[in-house]
């Protein structure tokens, strides 16, 4: 009986630790005064490559992005899923070799769901998302400038509500830096293998669909 009672406590403790770690990480990020000139240049360089790749993948095009949401064109899914497979392997290998740190965002069930749904509605209205919209401007899609103006206005609107949201919405279902490996309580490499297999199966099914 006492064991059963102990268990939720242990889980709570773990959550609290996770939350603390997330908070500490956020603090240390804000304490960084500003990025060095080298990092600014690297950011620009990585951005050029990212934008180049996004345009070449066609995901700066209105009809390809809308096609994904209308389920008639799966280019977006193919790009995202293959990036996730390669990145998942690469980043975790480098992490295991102590070359990089992970940068996991805190899990907040309610904020993740609400924010994701709101984002989705906006995604369909604009068709360009924050990254692909910037590539769309480069591609010459003038309507993407309206989306950027909206993004700036929306960011300020969020800041106006940020005090309230951080008190009321964000604590609901706050779980800290929770990963799938914590949830299924299996070794990380096994979870990675499982995730990659599932993504692979999804892509294989998509390939059989009579759409792009």
């Amino acid at each position: 009986m006492s064991q059963i009672l102990d268990k939720p406590d242990a889980a709570d403790e773990e959550v609290r630790e996770n939350v603390d770690r997330a908070a500490k990480n956020e603090q240390s990020q804000t304490r960084v005064p500003s990025d060095s000139a080298k990092q600014l240049l690297l950011g620009l360089l990585f951005g050029v490559v990212f934008g180049f790749l996004l345009q070449k993948a066609g995901v700066a095009k209105y009809h390809i992005l809308m096609g994904q949401l209308l389920l008639t064109d799966f280019t977006v899914l193919k790009v995202m899923m293959s990036a996730v497979i390669v990145g998942m392997l690469g980043v975790h290998f480098m992490h295991a070799a102590n070359l990089v740190e992970l940068h996991i965002k805190p899990t907040r069930y309610l904020a993740n769901c609400l924010g994701g749904l709101l984002f989705g509605v906006g995604f369909a209205l604009s068709a360009y998302c924050p990254g692909t919209g910037a590539a769309a401007i480069g591609q010459g899609n003038i309507d993407a400038i309206a989306m950027v103006a909206g993004m700036i206005a929306g960011s300020y609107l969020f800041a106006e509500a940020s005090g309230y949201l951080s008190r009321v919405v964000e604590p609901i279902g706050e779980r800290g830096k929770l990963t799938l490996a914590d949830v299924v309580t299996l070794p990380r490499p096994l979870v990675i293998l499982g995730a990659i297999s599932i993504i692979g199966i999804v892509l294989a099914i998509v390939e059989t669909l009579p759409v792009r």
Partner: protein
């Protein structure tokens, strides 16, 4: 009479083709596809992620850059009010890595489109015109939709903690539970809204 008859026959015969033409008109595949294989580009974006983790200690993510610009504008217009907002107190507006990344994306998008002969220079996308018409009203509607879409995306991304790249690619690859939930909700909201926009 004979003429009327043949007109009727013609009308009946052409009815399915009109219906078919309308059906084809809404096919997104009628427009140009990706220049490169999506799998190749995806793999390269995965490798790019490894580079940003290693060299910049940053995952790829685009939405934060817009919040930085909003902070700058806010500090210019109403500095006192802007600085006391929780988000800007926690995340001081600065020209940082994230903002430079998005500036780079614009440049990269241009280089790719220019090199591939895909530069558009269009105010309104072709598919939008096909669905909502070509007049001024349709153009205005597109601008309003793109702007309000931007507002909702920025608000949603800040609430959720990231966008299609920050959560959808960088977060999911790190097995973050919140990122998988957010990415799923983004597509649920997006698919539902898009279906409504293109339904009759």
């Amino acid at each position: 009479m004979k003429r009327l008859f043949s007109t009727a026959i013609l009308a009946i015969a052409s009815f399915p083709t009109i219906a078919l033409a309308q059906e084809e008109a809404i096919t997104t595949e009628a427009y140009s596809g990706p220049a490169w294989s999506p799998y190749l580009v995806g793999a390269l974006i995965g490798i790019l992620s490894m580079f940003t983790f290693y060299f910049s200690k940053h995952p790829l993510g685009a939405s934060t850059a817009y919040a930085r610009i909003a902070g700058f504008i806010g500090q210019g217009v109403a500095p006192k009010h802007t600085n006391q907002l929780k988000y800007f107190a926690d995340n001081k507006p600065k020209i940082g890595w994230e903002l430079m990344l998005v500036v780079g994306v614009v440049v990269g998008g241009f280089l790719a489109a220019f090199s591939g002969g895909e530069f558009t220079g269009r105010v309104v996308p072709e598919l939008w015109q096909q669905r909502f018409g070509e007049g001024t009203a349709s153009t205005l509607l597109r601008i309003v939709a793109a702007f309000s879409g931007g507002v909702l995306m920025a608000f949603g991304a800040r609430l959720a903690g990231g966008c299609t790249s920050g959560h959808g690619i960088s977060g999911t690859m790190q097995l973050s539970v919140g990122s998988w939930i957010t990415a799923g909700c983004m597509f649920i909201g997006g698919i539902a809204t898009a279906m409504l926009m293109f339904a009759f």
